[in-house]
Every structure is written in C-alpha cells, then in structure tokens.
Symmetry: C2
Subunit: 435 residues, 2 copies
C-alpha cells in the first residue's frame, strides 16, 4: 500500500523530451512548473467534497432522472420506455396476447399497434436533455399482405421474450435470431422487431433480458453485487472489473467516492488504475474503451442515479470525444425510445479541452491537424442542441474549429508518463476546471 | 446457490422452433433426444479428471513450454525472447549502452546489432509448435546516413524503457510515441523500434513494461492476484474479471479446475457465465471477444504453464475460428520473436466443428454458406503446418470446404437458449469429443 502511495505521489517524473528545439523543452519545463501550483491534496479534496455535495443536492436533476415514468402518464405525447421487472413485462405480454386472441375470436383478426421509430419521429427534449420518440403508432395487421410477415415475426419475438423471462436467463440478440432463422431471415429483422416490442411494451431492452455484449471496465471506490457476488472495485488490480452485460443483476451499489471519472480510452484508464488515482482522490473510474456500449451507459446511469455523484469526463480533444459525450448524455438516434434509461445528463467536460492545448502548452508536434471529416463533424456538433445549450462547450468547439487542431489524452505523455495523474488531473480538480 | 444450480440444471428447455417444416422440428426433437444420452455429472467429471491428470503429467509439453530459455543457449540458431524481471532488463540496457559508450570513446562510433524481423526470417518450428525468428542480425550504425535516424530512435526507446522500468510503471505504445513525437514522426516507427529493442534485449515486450490494451475477460474456478489484489473468479458475477494488461502484475495463481475453456465469443461466454457452468464442471472460462489480444494470450499461457491444465476451445465452425486457434497456438507472424511467451501449445478443438453440424443436426437455415473469401482462407489453412500435423483438424477442415457450410456457436441456440450449456458441452465432455 505504501509502495502504491509512493508511486502515485509526486516523485520527479521521467524527463519529457530530449529534443533540442527550444520550443519543446520550454513547453516541458512550463508543464513541470505547473506541478508547483498544486495545493496539498487535502485542499483539493475539500473542493471535491463541495462538488459532490452540490451534485447530491440538485434534486431537480436527479428527480427527473430517477422518478419520471412517462409510461404511467397517459396524456404524455412522447414515448420513453422504462425499466420493468420480469413479472411486469410478462403480464404486459400476456395482456397483449389476450387482446389479440379476443380480437381473433370476435372475427376481427388481429393487429399490433407499433410505435414509429423513424428519424422524423424522434425529437430532442431540452427539459429532459434527451432524445425521445413521439407517440405515433402504426397498425401491423396479420390480415394484410404487406404486414402479415412482420406481424408473425412480432408474435414470435413476443413468445421468445416470454420464454426467456420465464426461465430467468439473459440472451443476446444473436441468440434470439438463431432460434428461428427460417422465419427471421436475417438478424437485422429480428433486431428491428425487438426494438418494436420494446416500444410496444413500454419497457427497456434490458427488461426484456436481451443484452448487448459488454466492453466497459470499472475500477475505484465502488462496491456492488454482480449476480449476487460482492465486487469491491478498489481490489480489482489494474485490470478492473468488466461491467456486467445485464444491469438488472447489479445491486447493492455503495461508494465513498466524491465523483465519477468517465474516461474515453483504455490507455488513460490503465494509467489511472495503475497509479491507483482513486486512492488519492476518491472516485469511480470507468471506460467503455471508445464508443460507449449499452452496458456501460446503463451502468453509468445506475451509478449516477443511486449515488448522486458528479460525473467528470476525460476525452480526447477532438469532435469524436465530444460525440462520445453526447452519446452518454443524450443517447444515440437509433435507440431514442430507450434514451431515458441509457442517458446520464449533466456530465461535466473536464478535459482534454481545446483550450487546454495552449493552457498546458502541449507541444505542437503532439497536436494533430483536423481532417476535413473532423471539421465537418465539428461543425455539425455546433448545430446540436446539447452543445448549443452549454456556452462553454460552444466556445471550446469554436476554438477547436478555429485552430484546426486536435489532440489525444495520450498527448499529455509528452510531459512524462504520469503527468496525467500527477499534475494535469489534480490541477484540473483543484481549479474546478470543468464546464 | 441452489437457485443457480437449478438454472444450470436439466429443466426442460425453451421449445426450439415453432416452424412447421418437418425437417426443422425433427432436428429439434433429435437435438432434445441427445439430452437423454447424458450420463450423471459425476461420471463426466471422472472423464475430466483423467484428462486433467494426463495434461499435468505430460512433462514434455510443459517442460518445453516453461523451462526452455533460448536466450541462455548461445548456439541456438533462432531467437525466442523470454520474460525477464525489471532488474535484468535494466542491466541488459546498461550493458548495451556501456558498450556503445566504450565504442564511441575508442573512436569507432557506435552501432546497434538488430535482429531481422522480416517474414523471410520467420520460421515455424514443429518441435516447439511455434513461429520463431532466425538469428540473423543487421548493423544499425549511427555514422551512416541511412541508419543515423533509426539508431537515434533506438537509443531514445532504450532510454524511455529504462525510465519506465525505473519508475516501476507500465505504459502503452501510444504513450511511448507521445513522449517524443518530433523524433518518432509517427507511431509505426516507435512501435517497430520497440519490437527491435525487444529482440535486441532478448526479452518480451511485457518485460519492457509496454503493454497492450486489454479486452479479454475471465470467470470460473480461478484465484489470482492482480497487482496484489486477490481476485476470486467464481465471485465475478456474470460480467467476469477483465484480464489485466500487465501480466507481470499477476501472481498467486490457484485453481481447482479440471480444464480451461477457451471461448471465441462474448455471447457464448455470457451464457456460460450466467449459467455458472464452472460450478457444474470445474473449469476456467476465458475469452478475448474475437481476435485474441496480447494480454489474453499471455494470460492463457500463464494459466497453462502454472496450472498444467488441458485447454479446450469453443470457436465458430468457420475458417476464422480456426485462425483464432492458430493465433493462440502458434502466434501471429508480426510478433514471431515473442511467440514463445505468447503461445499456448496443445489446445484441443472441442467445437463447434464442421462434423458437429450433421452430428447435432444443426438445421440448414442456421448454417451459413461460405463466402469465396472463407473458402480461400480455408484452403490456405490446409497448407499451414499447425493444421497439417493434426490429422483430425485436416479432416474437419476438408469437411468444411466440401460442404461449403459454416456455423456460429450461437447456431446452437436454435435448440434452445441453454442448449449449449445443458446438452452440447456436457455431451462433448462426456464423449471426450475433442481433437
């Protein structure tokens, strides 16, 4: 433990660059000089405690997050599906099927009412800070050449989901497809109908026990139960704990962390885990290793809802980094109906921000020119509602587009391998430098 | 626990397919009839115990695996780098640098002797069942226009590795690149020189503390320490434990497993983890989620060397599945010099094998036609030494190419979501149906 403390301490870093160009070495010595700006950890911790306190007090945010159940609100004009337990999903399926049976017996045939998931039916709600689905349904009658097949597939998916829930197991979309390849034809069809079924039943895909594959990992001041096994994330070495694919098997979340540190990439996660950053500044560190997967998004949201902790994000300083933040915060378009359960509002952009490049004097050679595609994505982001509503983000994005430069988190390694954990992040936290 | 036992038990499965075609339902009922062939678990366990015993007794295999240190063998005509502790790597670097300094002082300038890693210098050794590098070195003198830059890069990488080792930390290739972007230009250059340095020092890349990102997960009857934290893989829920990127921080490996089950894909891993398959048949289950990464390969090898357990592989029945086995067993060409430390010989192909498709009567619609590319890869595999030396594998591959059909592990879901864990795998184990 002592040895670990020391490693995470303030021992002199690896000399940054042997390059003889005055500019680079000036940058390196300036970067090193920032170390002296650091106040004692106790002082930074006080800052973090007040951040955590304000996050847990902001009832407004967490209420809209945790308690809003639009499926209980009949006059709601939009669809936001909610987590439901197996018994409830099963009984919803039963009701649907009984309705169909009655309709058939009365000679009217049967038809499913399926909410439209078309892009034109998706809308961003600033109040909720999420993309949702408008309540607009179309009929899928069995007695029509155009929809007979799709109605059959829908019935089949309903019956498969029912069977999965009855057994109390979880399956993947691929498993579902293979149970009736002849009927489904190809997986995109069973996947699409599965999303329909989610909307029809008003419950999340994870409530249907159809799970996505996992790729996220977590480490730090967090204890939870995964399928009944108690996991202490301070004792997960440097590898961390794989985030479970089935969020409904996660329970008993406890933590003495002051914030959640959301990391875009693997390499930074590894640095933080190896340096046991969470022991110096109590936090929970998680990453989806790039584009966030559903399991990691669900997990982050659960942590935020249950622990009411602030979430600080560490992403690359490029349009893609911001896009990743947007997926965590507002959801992706193709799962908009599920956005309420997948999104975590109020994530703070800690770094690496375009303005950091000059502030920390990241050497020119560690910055990368933006490609045409980067610039296009950056300009599109400027038009997005979730960016527009945060003045600080707009400014940063404009800086990026003006300078046409981007940089990875890893660029900070130019000041020493542990600069990220020893200087950059502590200073950021001390200066409350998030937006 | 009881509830878990029950889930993994022999409760009637989800009815397989509602399709009315006689062929598909006949296949389903045949598949179900195989359940009755299963002997009690105690009997299957006896089979597995003798498998485990024979694996631990096969001294020949494990000796060549664990004890062979070609770097200690001066007359060896090939290069196989070995794991070295930090002190030893540091002193090797020191010796190299002292040599260079002496050479400079004596007026002869300095030059590195760098082993060639060209494809023409790579060879498959049937004895070792691995790809290795022939001992053929080229000089990289500083006093030559052609190599001055590369010699400088080499010196710089040596000094960076030295610094990393001194600090007792681990870094990624990307970190290394960013410490001197100006000199390295682009990452492929620092990566290539890092591999050179590995060969020059005769030690693995992980001994240099330069690690790859992790993507593997493990679950089951295994206890180990990750950076000093004790990890019990029977208590890792369904998510499993992320395999650590830095193998040298792994210690204290213990297990009461009878075999290691190597799984190609995520979805099958999840099924096995959720059904706690390892409690019914004591085993360690691991997956790299597709193409094996370095961390997972190192980890598998460590398990095999220390626990002397048989390794059974569950991969898709397609050329790609076999290719994945080849990477685990013989290494990939671009890291041949490190193959001794990355490869695990003697992996048994448990399934899904081309002959299983008929044996288990996998319905036609769950099989996929091989593409032209698949066929090309399949034919190339038939020419590979590691396939040729196993008659059973050749036969299976010929069957695949004759029928032009492939199938995923997930295709077994057509007989019910838990068919894999309840019937297919237990029957395979009972019948010792591996090759």
């Amino acid at each position: 433990m002592l040895e670990k403390k020391r490693r995470a301490g303030v021992a002199p870093d690896v000399p940054a660059s042997s390059s003889k160009k005055p500019r680079a070495s000036a940058a390196a010595s300036y970067a090193e000089s920032l170390r002296s700006k650091l106040r004692p950890d106790a002082s930074i911790l006080t800052t973090l405690r007040s951040l955590a306190a304000s996050a847990s007090k902001s009832k407004a945010a967490t209420n809209s997050l945790a308690d809003h159940d639009p499926s209980a609100d009949p006059i709601s004009s939009y669809i936001v599906v909610a987590d439901q337990d197996s018994a409830s999903v099963t009984s919803r399926i039963n009701r649907l099927v009984l309705g169909a049976a009655r309709s058939i017996l009365s000679g009217r045939g049967f038809s499913f009412a399926v909410p439209s998931r078309a892009a034109s039916n998706q809308v961003y709600l600033p109040d909720l800070d999420r993309i949702v689905l408008l309540r607009r349904e179309s009929a899928r009658p069995f007695a029509s050449v155009a929809t007979a097949r799709k109605a059959t597939v829908t019935a089949r998916v309903l019956s498969l989901v029912h069977a999965v829930l009855r057994r109390g197991i979880h399956v993947t979309k691929r498993d579902l497809f293979y149970t009736d390849v002849k009927l489904f034809g190809d997986q995109s069809q069973s996947d699409a109908v599965l999303d329909d079924v989610s909307c029809m039943l008003g419950c999340t895909r994870s409530s249907l026990h159809v799970v996505a594959s996992e790729k996220g990992v977590v480490v730090g001041r967090l204890v939870f139960a995964d399928d009944g096994d108690r996991i202490d994330c301070t004792r997960m070495g440097v590898g961390g704990k794989a985030i479970p694919p089935n969020i409904d098997r996660v329970s008993g979340i406890e933590s003495d962390a002051l914030f959640i540190l959301l990391v875009e990439k693997d390499a930074a996660f590894m640095r933080l885990a190896e340096d046991r950053f969470y022991n110096r500044f109590p936090c929970i560190i998680l990453t989806a290793k790039g584009q966030p997967d559903v399991a990691t998004r669900l997990f982050l949201r659960r942590l935020k809802v249950e622990l009411k902790l602030p979430v600080l994000a560490l992403v690359d300083s490029d349009p893609y980094g911001l896009k990743i933040l947007s997926v965590y915060m507002c959801g992706s378009k193709n799962m908009s109906y599920d956005s309420a359960n997948l999104t975590t509002p109020d994530i703070k952009w800690l770094g690496v921000r375009p303005s950091d490049l000059d502030k920390y004097r990241v050497p020119e050679q560690c910055r990368l020119p933006m490609t045409d595609h980067d610039i296009k994505v950056g300009k599109e982001l400027l038009e997005e509602d979730f960016v527009k509503q945060n003045e600080g983000w707009v400014k940063e994005l404009e800086t990026m587009l003006r300078t046409r430069q981007k940089a990875e988190i890893q660029a900070l390694s130019s000041f020493g391998f542990q600069y990220l954990t020893e200087v950059y992040l502590p200073l950021k936290l001390q200066q409350q430098d998030w937006i």
